[in-house]
């Protein structure tokens, strides 16, 4: 992954509402998943409480600072098994 970039992924219902599943963004210092959500106009000023965030395949908090090359994903409620 190029340094200075973030990759953003959406799944299931979120992906279909947004109409895309993956995007790249220029990373700016201090950026968080919450900021990414707003910047990409994913709905309202923050994700609904039921949406979970993953950074590089690990669950993470909305306000975790992102690093160059991070993959940030917004996950609608899990309905597995």
């Amino acid at each position: 992954m190029t340094s200075g970039e973030l990759r953003v992924r959406l799944f299931a219902g979120l992906r279909e509402e947004a109409g895309w599943q993956e995007r790249s963004l220029v990373h700016q210092s201090g950026m968080t998943a919450a900021a990414v959500w707003k910047l990409l106009n994913l709905g309202g000023t923050a994700p609904p409480a039921t949406v979970r965030v993953a950074i590089n395949h690990e669950f993470a908090a909305l306000d975790t600072p992102l690093a160059n090359g991070d993959e940030v994903a917004f996950l609608p409620p899990i309905s597995g098994g």
Binding site: R9, F11, A12, G13, A54, H57, E58, A73, L75, P76, P77, I78, S79, G80, G81
Partner: protein
Amino acid sequence: MSPHPLAVLLDVELLVAPFDPLTSLAAWQARLMVGLPSIAAAEAHFIGRVRPVTSDGSPLEALELEHYPGMTEGRIAAFSLALAHQHGVAAVLVRHRVGRLKPGEPIVVVAVAADRRGPALRCCQELLETLKHEAPFWKREWVNGCGHWVAGNTPL
């Protein structure tokens, strides 16, 4: 076998095509015979299949299971290993379908081998609950050509 074996045989795979749970279990048992230092006296299994009706009772055409490639396998491996250590079991098997499933098709197999029935049964049960709530899977129910994302988990 020690109640807290240092090594756990961990075997997690997502499957894109229909599978037979008992065939998976037979292959796993054969690997245990080779891989475990001593026979595991207790084995607990769980098999889950697609219900023929949707959560609101309509006849189901198909169930679609979306996942997050990489993260889903990673999360399952991580909590399976943690639970295996916590319960002191010797081996864990997880097979989980993704993609489009027909009613009656197996979705999931969980199996745990241990020296005693308590750890085997408890670890199997807890692993199944964790799988339901911590592994990134999303279900879409298809009825008459229309798909609806399922909001939460099936009740216990």
